[in-house]
């Protein structure tokens, strides 16, 4: 790993050390109680996923339309990290829902569309790994499709009638609807997004070394 990543690692470690304390000091919500504190890492995990989706989408578009092979590493890294943080959201959400709604899962628009989006990125990784020669373009098309669906998943709670809290919850929180909860949320969100960037960096390094190995194999066989 490059030495330039060291400050990023230090910042992420510091944020993850401070955030749990700040979350513990945040006020308890009136209707949901203590379990609402899952919000402080449930929403940031989706924010980190959206960051990774943006990277995957842009890199996939560059690979597809400009045919730049270097973008493949970023597309794969974005898709993989998106799956990781999506999984965190899909696990922490039902744990919250069990207490807040009394059920683990409801087939309502937000939850269903989020699950489908996660499956699209899993499909993208499967295509990239097992698709054989030329799979990078097929995976990029899948990644781009996944990125195109993401705004609909985000806005689903505002468009359809759902049990899931609306997107206005976060802006209202930052405006001070629940005094003392803005800072823990901001810290946690920043920590998760930086962690996603760090993990994508790590994954890009792996993809580049893998590409070097593949080139060497071709050279050696030729």
């Amino acid at each position: 790993m490059k030495k330039s990543a060291t400050p990023l690692i230090a910042i992420v470690a510091l944020l993850f050390a401070v955030a749990p304390y700040e979350i513990s000091q945040a006020p308890i919500e009136s209707t949901m109680g203590l379990v609402q504190k899952i919000f402080y890492f449930h929403v940031p995990s989706w924010m980190a996923m959206y960051t990774a989706i943006a990277v995957c989408g842009v890199a996939s578009a560059i690979l597809l339309f400009r045919n730049q092979k270097t973008a493949d590493a970023y597309a794969v890294a974005g898709a993989e990290v998106a799956v990781l943080f999506g999984l965190m959201g899909l696990v922490s959400g039902p744990l919250w829902g069990r207490k807040a709604w009394g059920v683990w899962w409801v087939w309502e628009p937000r939850l269903t569309s989020a699950l489908l989006m996660e499956l699209i990125f899993i499909a993208c990784l499967i295509v990239r790994k097992y698709g054989g020669p030329g799979s990078e373009k097929l995976a990029a098309a899948t990644g781009l499709f996944g990125a195109a669906t993401s705004p609909f998943v985000y806005k689903s709670v505002d468009i359809w009638r759902t049990q899931h809290p609306k997107t206005s919850v976060v802006p209202e929180l930052l405006k001070g609807s629940m005094p003392g909860s803005g800072l823990p949320f901001a810290l946690s969100a920043f920590a998760f997004v930086l962690l996603a960037i760090l993990l994508m960096n790590l994954r890009v390094i792996l993809a580049r070394r893998q590409a070097t190995l593949d080139d060497l194999y071709l050279e050696y066989d030729g």
């Binding site: 609402q36 922490s92 993990l199």
Partner: protein, 88 residues
Amino acid sequence: MRKTLAAAAFAILVAGSASARQPPAAQSEFVPAQPGAATEQLPAAPLLIAAYAFVWIATTGYVWTIARRLNKVEDDLRALEHKARPPR
């Protein structure tokens, strides 16, 4: 006539069950609890801890898989370079 009545009754039943299954309205903002108000019926701490633990386990597991894959690629690179080097 009987068929029309049966169809109408069926439509009313379906519409009634669909409206009965409508979820409650979504929250648009969070409101802090009043001091001393009873907020918990089910223990929330295990759910909160499980969610937080999962975040850490998933992150650690992912970093471990990257490290393992990177080590394998580096080993393969070294082996290939060794194989490609002409014998002295």
